[in-house]
């Protein structure tokens, strides 16, 4: 798809024109009100707070990591720009970029350790930083910094006509919204969405969770810094630590974001248009008699929204629109230039085994039996419990390896070690000859190790298509390519009719196929499947087994943990038995299941007799 083709231009306009229109309208309103400085000021504040909330939205809404200490960035940007202007004479037009840089660097510094924490720790941690910086600034005598008045003029960003500031604010808002729109459609946006819903699964599907979060964080911070600087010059006249580091800033931003809808494009804009003038109005009318009424309204808005409309105003509206869209049989919202609508309305043919052809990006090795994966001397303990003791297995390429063992044998732990979720205390994991024991799951995914989970870890709120796309993104950075691959994979796995349905509504069978599809979309060389048959009936068990066999016939090595040994035996080329963290049997399926250790620990004499007769 070459750049600039008619279709691509069409999509560009479709995506970005609403933003342009909204901003132009806003600008026009502000011009119409011409003489009235007060109203212009309100409009200015609406745009500024909308912009600040939108940039906050990137990390907190789209990224799912609510940054309670966001005022740190607003303040850093403001202070950097003002101080540079006051003491070094640097024009604020240049200064705001220094402000953005300062905020971004601070974000890296804060994010380095805190982004590894769980979300609520993170939220609380970030609040500490502005509370550390603020008193230091006060102590240095910077509690109150007058913005020197160097005459009205462009170079000092000081204008008599507020409308100039309104224009600047509109431009800022437009840029922020455009960035968000771009993110929504890009790989980055999908990864953020996946991280927000299920971090572990995202990591396993090749998403570098830490780096993605950090990028969103820094972006959010830098934008916030610019907006803080503009806020200082356009609305404050004097910069105080309270004005840009105060708690009220995060209260306002959070209220606007929640009421509008976390993680939505228009939410902050709509909510800012309502809450900012409303707050001003309340302050004006009731401020003297009932002080603090503005915050009471904000507080109530927060509580009511969280209970009754957690998706926020725009979230609710877009849910409703999507619902109606779907009911009317419309094509999916997600359309990329050059794509055709997957409008297949066929019945779900879930009982028929899908035929898995050569999935793309599988390395074409000669089918000789060299071990693609080697586990050597792996040991892992938790507290005092040895989950794995000296486990060594050689897994030849293109085969199906079955792993069995009683509960607590260490099977899933083994998977976690191979897959990178856990680091072994001892031993090596060699993939194509290289030790990968200490790599992270997302790196391993990109190298070619994919996985499904015992409890299916799908991205509930995303559609089937989007789920699979996350997998495809492991190897392709363009949304178009990912979309194509996802569709292809879905076709092969007979999931086409469910492409636009939310993953949360799928049946157990469909969920498992989805997980497999997603894993396949990552173009793996090795596929780890953890108890795929749990919750299925015998007929479905066999179907899944056939699918797994078919997958291995395309060259992918499949390793399956399973309790339903009957079905496993039919498809496995090799089997390994674990018990209490040790490998107790290895070989062909018949050898393993007749191994006395296995039988004693696991199967029982009855089954052995039955098998011996068949």
């Amino acid at each position: 798809m070459k750049r600039g083709t008619p279709q691509k231009r069409h999509t560009f306009w479709k995506d970005y024109s609403p933003i342009l229109i909204a901003c132009v309208v806003g600008g026009m309103i502000s011009c119409i009100i011409a003489e009235n400085r007060y109203l212009q000021r309100i409009i200015l504040l609406v745009f500024l707070w909308a912009a600040a909330t939108s940039s906050f939205n990137i990390i907190s809404g789209y990224g799912g990591q609510v940054v309670f200490g966001y005022m740190m960035f607003v303040g850093c940007g403001a202070y950097t720009t003002v101080l540079l202007f006051k003491f070094a004479g640097i024009t604020p037009w240049l200064g705001i970029f220094f402000g953005a840089a300062a905020a971004g660097i601070v974000a890296i510094f804060i994010g380095l350790p805190t982004l590894r924490l769980r979300s609520h720790y993170f939220a609380v941690a970030t609040i500490a930083f502005p509370l550390i910086l603020s008193p230091i600034l006060d102590h240095l005598g910077l509690e109150e910094v007058t913005i020197p008045f160097k005459g009205y003029g462009f170079s000092s960003m000081q204008f008599t006509d507020i409308r100039v500031y309104v224009a600047i604010a509109i431009v800022l808002l437009a840029i922020t919204l455009a960035i968000i729109r771009k993110i929504e459609k890009s790989r980055f946006g999908f990864e953020l969405k996946a991280i927000k819903q299920n971090e572990n699964a995202a990591e396993g599907m090749g998403v570098d969770v830490y780096r993605t979060k950090m990028f969103a964080f820094v972006l959010s911070a830098a934008l916030g810094g610019i907006i803080g600087a503009v806020y200082a010059f356009s609305s404050l006249f004097v910069l105080t630590t309270h004005a840009v580091f105060g708690l009220f800033i995060i209260v306002r931003i959070l209220s606007i974001n929640i009421v509008g809808g976390l993680g939505t494009l228009w939410g902050p804009v709509i909510a800012a248009s309502i809450l900012v003038p409303l707050g001003e109005f309340l302050n004006a009318e009731f401020g003297a008699r009932a002080p603090g009424v503005q915050d009471i309204v904000y507080g109530t808005a927060l509580i009511v929204t969280i209970i009754f409309m957690p998706a926020g105003i725009w979230g609710r509206i877009s849910e409703f629109l999507e619902h109606r869209h779907r009911k009317l049989g419309g094509s999916p919202k997600l359309s990329f230039a050059g794509s055709s609508d997957p409008g297949e309305k066929g019945n779900i043919e879930k009982k028929e085994s899908p035929v898995v052809e050569n999935t793309p990006a599988v390395g074409t090795e000669d089918g000789h039996d060299r071990p693609v994966l080697q586990v050597e001397g792996i040991a892992k303990s938790f507290g005092g419990v040895m989950a794995l003791r000296d486990v060594s297995i050689e897994i030849p390429e293109g085969k199906v390896l079955g792993i069995i063992g009683p509960n607590g044998a260490g099977k899933t732990t083994l998977f976690n070690v191979i897959n990178g979720y856990l680091k072994p205390d001892k031993g090596k994991v060699l993939f194509e000859g290289k030790d990968i024991a200490y790599l992270k799951p997302h790196d391993l995914c990109r190298l070619g190790i994919a996985r499904t989970f015992q409890v299916a870890q799908i991205f509930n709120k995303m559609t089937v298509l989007e789920n699979i796309m996350i997998g495809a993104f492991a190897r392709h950075s363009s949304s178009l390519d990912a979309y194509a691959i996802a569709r292809k994979t879905a076709e092969k796995m007979r999931m086409t009719s469910r492409l636009n349905d939310r993953a949360v509504g799928l049946s157990i069978w469909e969920t498992k196929i989805l997980e497999l599809s997603r894993a396949l979309a990552t173009g793996p060389k090795v596929l780890l499947v953890d108890e795929p048959m749990a919750g299925l009936n015998p007929e479905e068990n066999d179907k899944i087994g056939e699918i797994l066999k078919a997958i291995s016939e395309t060259g992918i090595t499949v390793i399956v943990i399973e309790h339903v040994v009957q079905s496993l035996v039919k498809i496995a080329d090799l089997m390994v038995g674990l018990d209490e963290g040790r490998k107790v049997a290895e070989g062909s399926p018949e050898e393993v299941i007749s191994d006395p250790h296995i039988i004693e620990a696991y199967l029982g004499a009855k089954w052995r007799k039955r098998y011996a007769q068949s």
Binding site: H139, E144, L278, G287, P291
Partner: protein, 427 residues
Amino acid sequence: MEVEVWQKGERTMIRRGLTIILVSIVIIGGFIFGDKSKVAMTAAPDIKIAVVYPLSGAFSRNGNLTVQGIKAAMGWVNDNGGIKSLGGAKLVPVIGDCGSTVEGSANAMERVCRDPEIVMAIGSWASSFSMSSTEVTERLGIPQFSEGFADSLTERGLKWSFYPNPPYSTLSAIVLPQVIELAKNAGKSIKTAMIVGNNQAASVSFYKTAKEIFGKLGIKFIGEETWAIGTLTDATPIMQKVKALNPDVVVYMGDALTEIQMVMMKKKEFDIKTPFMCGGGWLGDPSLKFGGEYLESWIALSPSFPHKLTPREWITRALAQCRKEYSNEAWVGQELSFAYTMVPIMAEVLERAGSRDRQIIRDTGRKLDIHNVMATRHIVGQGMAFDETGRIAPKYRGSLIVQWQSGRPYPVYPPNLALAKPIWGAK
């Protein structure tokens, strides 16, 4: 295609949502486009003066007291014939609340001054609020009076603001040597001093001046303990230091009542005898009345406190007005009397201008030079004129020393305005 687009529950919700939005639009629209000015059609239309102070939030008490004083002062002007050169027009305050943010104070001033009939403005107590509100009036071309004494207020080169109170640097220059004198008369000599207080901009400039002046008089500063206003959780460590270092005098700057109370309590608890001298007129705040004995002999400087020449009527009016609308105060302190450094002067300016034109009023104000008249009764220097930055002219600058004696504050200096004799150090 027949599709049930909205389900019942959703319909109600949508209806509700739409209603809320419509109602909000109506309210906000009414607010925006409604006519807020209630002009009483009398013979001469009222003179509207914007009054913007923090009425909610951390400084609500200070703001409210000042506003009540302003109302009382305006009431006095009006009852004495209003502005005669404008047909006896009465002064009317149009009040705005800064809230507790800098953004809020600029918003409030912009909002109130929408009305083109606003002729002058007063505000906004806290230096950062005054800075932003004066920037607004500067751009609108409205003459604004502010009681602020931070030096930074007049360093901006604004043309439309007026500051009838001397800046901190001057206040300290006047008062501090007096404090030394006081000690000398009591037979004590001051060799060492210590700074205790918050690090607000105004406080910092006060400390700076104190260091300069004391330095010139050979007094050494042996310690400095400052905190960001609002962050003092426990005054123990500070008072520890004071006790340990035992300076001859403590220079104290703090006007957050909570913090004052903590420091006061600990001083008494630790039985610290060092005299405290304060750079703020908050010392006269009647809400401290419960702490009478703990404040014995504490000194403060203030440019505005009822003194010998302050007309009795002004004081009773202020108390009555405050009691009517805000609170029952035991006496008039700094905030409640600030208005009398401003409103009578403003009335005088209006009187001489004889016009509602803002430019003319401003020019008249800048040219003003009066002394020993009714309007200047409450001013320490008994006169008013403004220099090119809008600050009270040096020749009229003066400050009171207020001291707490037997459970109440009294002005004890200068002698012509004093209501009690100064003492040094508690027993």
